[in-house]
């Protein structure tokens, strides 16, 4: 409670404590909770803002990307300045969230939500919120959730269409029960667009469920898979209990958590619909981006940098290198070409 103290604290949350299912006791329970938000795009930034304003004790936020102009139409936490400076989303989000509510401890991670990181964070987490834009990460989160018995709240959207489901280990079916396997690439925000209300609708459902879990009102959970299309005026709330699979590799009787093993070997990823490849070194390094930026400038490349990353233009490709050694190569979906660009600049 570094920001507002004592009675001011209660005043701040008065409209939430007046809501009888939460009350003063529920507010205190929120303050003791630690939520992990994976991904800080449209869903993640909306979730982070709502939970910060609600007075959740601690948030750990992870994102591997930086702010771009095309994010601003729907990603609530970011400003034009963040886009101009190519601020990493996790860092820009932290700054904004600290302005909104100093009571909330924000731990930001600019990096990939990979298995070692999630396994390290999991033991201290009460709830995992899905703010990602890809199923590779969601299947990993699904495994982590069950291995560590942490509830997680799935959300996704594209166009005017969205879906959400609350997954409680030991109770509900899991993502693997719902989808059977990793989906093929479908529509993405970069191919068919997205409108902000679709995002807000998903996060309204996600954060309402989060408040129920965090204030320990589990009895009020929705228990259905919600899907809607705000433009076509369709809404469905679907019962899911009967598809819980007793032999599921994630939530069944003999789990093997397949996505925790698979991921451990992945080093490159094509970012869905973004014409971008990510390359991640086997172990994260702390590379001196200032030195590299200097070298590239001297070599005649167009370079811009901030304390967190450096961006360099090489022919039709732009590479953005983060301090942890991770690189995004824009302008290609081809891993081989991306690696060639990466190695041509870094060695």
């Amino acid at each position: 409670m570094s920001g507002l103290k004592g009675s001011t604290y209660m005043k701040r949350y008065s409209r939430q404590t007046l809501f009888s299912p939460i009350g003063v006791d529920g507010q205190e329970r929120l303050r003791r909770k630690h939520v992990l938000i994976v991904g800080l795009g449209a869903l993640g930034s909306s979730i982070a803002e709502t939970l910060t304003r609600a007075g959740v004790g601690k948030l750990t936020i992870i994102d591997r990307d930086y702010v771009e102009e095309s994010n601003l139409q729907r990603q609530l936490l970011y400003s034009e300045n963040d886009a101009m400076e190519r601020m990493p989303k996790a860092e820009a989000a932290k700054r904004r969230l600290n302005e909104v509510n100093q009571d909330v401890e924000i731990h930001s991670i600019v990096g990939d939500a990979d298995v070692p990181l999630l396994e390290r964070l999991a033991p201290n987490i009460d709830l995992i919120m899905d703010g990602t834009d890809n199923f590779d990460t969601r299947f990993m989160m699904n495994d982590i959730s069950h291995k560590f018995h942490i509830p997680w709240i799935f959300g996704s959207c594209v166009g005017s269409f969205g879906s959400t489901f609350t997954i409680i280990p030991g109770k509900t079916p899991c993502l693997q029960c719902l989808l059977k396997k990793l989906p093929m690439r479908g529509q993405t925000c970069d191919t068919v667009g997205i409108i902000a209300p679709a995002v807000q609708m998903v996060t309204a459902y996600q954060t309402a469920e989060a408040l129920k879990i965090l204030s320990e009102n589990q009895w009020a959970l929705r228990n259905t898979y919600v899907t809607f299309d705000l433009w076509q005026n369709q809404t469905l709330s679907i019962k899911a209990d009967s598809i819980k699979n007793a032999d599921c590799y994630t939530c069944g009787h003999y789990p093997t958590y397949p996505y925790l093993q698979y991921e451990a070997t992945t080093k490159t990823a094509v970012l869905c619909g973004r014409n971008t490849v990510q390359i991640r070194p086997a172990t994260s390094t702390n590379c001196s981006i200032a030195v590299l930026a200097d070298q590239w400038k001297k070599a005649g490349y167009k370079v811009s940098a901030n304390p967190f990353l450096v961006s360099v233009l090489k022919d039709e490709h732009r590479m953005v290198l983060f301090k942890d050694g991770r690189a995004l190569i824009h302008g290609t979906n081809d891993i081989t070409i991306a690696k060639r660009v990466y190695h041509s600049l870094i060695g």
């Binding site: 703010g131 199923f135 996704s156 059977k180 479908g186 299309d229 076509q232 469905l236 679907i238």
Partner: protein
């Protein structure tokens, strides 16, 4: 007759959000095969199928009057 509700890319592909189908007595798996052949829907392996607002497996048998929703997973966020 049954009613088929379409969302996201399936809706876009057909251009309408509802279709009538004489398919009672068949399984969900057979429905998927028909949709694949007649309307070249793809990625039906990971599509979620609900009958009367309850998820079902591929083995479920479709009955007269059922309302079937095909819900594709989308990845955006």
């Amino acid at each position: 007759m049954i009613k088929l509700l379409l969302f996201a890319q399936f809706r876009d592909q057909i251009g309408k959000q509802e279709m009538q189908f004489p398919i009672e007595g068949k399984t969900v798996k057979e429905l998927k095969e028909i949709l694949k052949e007649s309307y070249s829907f793809d990625e039906l392996d990971s599509v979620m199928v609900a009958i009367n607002e309850e998820f079902v497996t591929d083995q479920e048998i479709i009955r007269e009057g059922d309302i079937i929703a095909l819900i594709p997973p989308v990845s955006g966020g």
